[in-house]
Amino acid sequence: MSTATRSLPRTIGAHAILLTYTAIALFPVILVIMNSFKSRAGIFSAPLTPPTPGTFDLIGYTTVIGQGDFIHYFQNSLVVTIGSLFFVLLFGAMAAFALSEYRFRGNTLMGLYLALGIMIPIRLATVAILQLMVASGLVNTLTALILVYTAQGLPLAVFILSEFMKQVSDDLKNAGRIDGLSEYTIFFRLVVPLVRPSMATVAVFTMIPIWNDLWFPLILAPSEETKTVTLGAQLFLGQFVTNWNAILAALSLAILPVLVLYVIFSRQLIRGITSGAVK
């Protein structure tokens, strides 16, 4: 960095703003994690203090794990999230490739149609979706959730990925065609690796709302067999008594898998940015 752009007050100012923002963003998460390690009395008497030897209690975690099914709920959430993510990325990238690569009649119109879903919340169609799932016998299956989330994630994925696919060098694709590669090979072996950073971005954007969603699991798959973590945590929210220890513990645990996925994708993101140059 040149001395012209480096001055002490400016550096302090920038760090102050960033640190404040970080504190605000992390505050609720830290609060949840802190309180999940406290006894019920500890949570209510001093919610803002970290656990002390007097208030430290693992009762929340033992309740959650003792409930037995929670491992299963986690599994369900993971299956749904990873499954939907897989299909969103696969179909989204394929549609984006077709839209950006091939000239066909109605190309622009098709692109607009596929992007329309960004503006229309899928929840508006809940009743129709439920009827559809009942008719096709998919109620209380994870398949139902995966299908809905795939539909929910696709518009944004197609929109973002087609922009990035346009930037992949035409020469590279043409070189592949002259070497006799099929369009599928060109897509999977040449184009997808080059747009991997943007796919990681899409993955992060798609994953978090799916993992956190309560609405569709509650409506489409509320059975014991198919409950997701967010729905499972509702178990402790009683009408008269709420088991705060257990809820906070369940939420803390629910952060972990999504954090792991995020770290995986964000590494891709950074690697893509730093080593992207083809030319």
Binding site: S169, A175, R177, I178, D179, L181, A277
Partner: protein
């Protein structure tokens, strides 16, 4: 083994006609250069030959077989791109071998051909590297090697030197010329740089606005341009064009190349003042504002001292003066 015939090829993108009926014949072993300003359709024509674009109408015939609807991989061609277009995830060796592997060539044969190509282009030390670990010139040599390995009927080059720096460009140009001499293969080369065209080609095709302006050898185009466009495009610095009426001539435009003008401080045909002088060592370019002829360029071989503001007389060589009619065509 490597003739090409293009019959009345037209290409339109929607309402925009990019190629307006191209007819061309290339015989076996020829080095043909398509040259023209940007947007003239030269790259599109190359892509039609490669099969990367479909022509709107017309036929492309390679070695007597109509390939108008044949996919690129089956046309027996190889192409070198401006941006190298190497596969980033493959080593140099696999980059060169992929096309053959795809065509089902036995591994021993692939290795043999890679061996020959890499020694020809001195790429042996880099065979196990990936494109990201190579310099620009090395990448372009790999791209050329990838074409050589295929032993194609036709080599297609799409502005292969445009991304290289000036010194490397001269080297690579030399390598391509040597490659052509050694392989005796038919090569088609697209460029917007008339120097590349003049130095490499057996035959130059000058394109403008989707039409062929003239086809001929480099010296033919230089000495006998068919029209004003070709005269202005071939040769550097550009030919001077002077309004015929100002010189009292019947022709619409008079053309003189800067190197066919002589200057004298005392007497000559056109009196003018020096506006600017470019000293290149081997030659000197003078820009003269003449009373009769307007602003003209004069190229003098060797060093010539002329301060801006000096009065000089320029005289054209009458044997090397071109006359163009109102339609732009050369009057013989």
């Amino acid at each position: 083994m490597g003739s090409l015939k293009i019959e009345n090829v037209k290409k339109a993108f929607g309402p925009v006609e990019v190629l307006k009926g191209i007819d061309l014949e290339v015989t076996d072993g020829e080095f043909v250069v398509f040259v023209g300003p940007s947007g003239c359709g030269k790259s599109t024509l190359l892509r039609v030959i490669a099969g990367l674009e479909d022509s709107t109408s017309g036929r492309v015939v390679i070695d007597g077989a109509d390939v108008s609807v044949t996919p690129p991989a089956k046309r027996g061609i190889a192409m070198v791109f401006q941006t190298y277009a190497l596969y980033p995830h493959l080593t140099v060796k696999n980059n060169m071998g992929l096309g053959l592997k795809q065509a089902g060539t036995p591994a021993a044969e692939i290795d043999r051909r890679i061996g020959i190509a890499s020694s020809m282009l001195s790429l042996e030390p880099y065979l196990e590297r990936r494109p990201a670990e190579l310099s620009g010139g090395q990448r372009q040599r790999v791209a050329i090697g990838r074409a050589v390995v295929r032993e194609p009927k036709l080599f297609l080059f799409d502005e292969p030197l445009s991304n290289l720096d000036a010194a490397l460009r001269v080297n690579t140009r030399l390598e391509i010329a040597q490659l052509h001499r050694r392989l005796k293969a038919t090569m088609i080369y697209v460029t917007h740089d008339q120097v590349e065209a003049m130095t490499l080609a057996d035959k130059i095709v000058v394109l403008n606005a989707g039409r062929i302006e003239q086809i001929g050898g480099p010296m033919e185009l230089y000495n006998a341009p068919a029209n004003e466009f070709v005269a202005g495009f071939i040769g550097s610095p550009k030919m001077n064009f002077i309004d015929g009426a100002r010189l009292g001539e019947t022709a619409k435009t008079i053309g003189v190349r800067p190197e066919h003008l002589t200057v004298n401080p005392n007497s000559g045909a056109w009196k003018g003042t020096v506006v600017h002088a470019e000293h290149l060592g081997a030659d000197t370019n003078l820009y003269l504002d003449c009373e009769k002829a307007g602003l003209i360029t004069v190229r003098i071989f060797g060093v010539y001292d002329a301060e801006p503001g000096t009065t000089l007389y320029a005289t054209p060589d009458p044997a090397k003066t071109y006359r163009f009619g109102a339609d732009g065509k050369t009057i013989k």
